[in-house]
Symmetry: C2
Amino acid sequence: MFGRIDHIGVAVTDLDAAVALYEQTFGMPVAHRETVESFGVEAVLLDVGESHVELLRPVSDDSAIARFLERNGPGLHHVAYATDDIEAALERCRAAGLRLIDERPRRGIRNSRVAFLHPKAVGGVLTELVQPAAH
Amino acid sequence: MFGRIDHIGVAVTDLDAAVALYEQTFGMPVAHRETVESFGVEAVLLDVGESHVELLRPVSDDSAIARFLERNGPGLHHVAYATDDIEAALERCRAAGLRLIDERPRRGIRNSRVAFLHPKAVGGVLTELVQPAAH
């Protein structure tokens, strides 16, 4: 169902400092930077193998990332798995009785289609399904 | 410095239930199961692309995973990046002034060599360097 880890999502307060750490010390090239208004975040994707680190800074106070930071401080926020067919993947999760946050895929970063599973359904792990945009 | 995400580490209370979810619903094959006494955990690795999901159940009450579960409940615990030269990677982190948990690599799962960076040095993310065993 999943081809790879698409990315790990990391909540940060200082985006430029985080980018500097991952880029300069960890040697991960910046692949993309985008403000995703529907999620209330500014996001930076850095390459690592076939995956990315996604650094997320809130741009609105009522975004999920802002609430996460308030509750937990910066740190690991979610993991995303890549799929070629997000409808089928979501249906499989629904059929298994997993609680969904998104009943239908919505637009994510870089015109991907994404859907989140509820962390309570995945042992406390906020889990995202991602179907990257066709190139 | 890092070739790929080696694994994401997930703290669980019920290992068999977690394995069933990742294997049967998410379709990730179990690659390895091992009790790593030095870390006080029973661990299961599942394949996803070039990475793994590592499910971690404490086998001793004073393990880091037991303390994490007590504080946070089950969920995302750490991320590990693969390197071909853990001494060089650790030295680069040290030279950048990052606080280390392990000053020297120690033995991890499947005879890998591992070292943890302090989460305070990596924006709240517990970060592991892994040099897999040579095959």
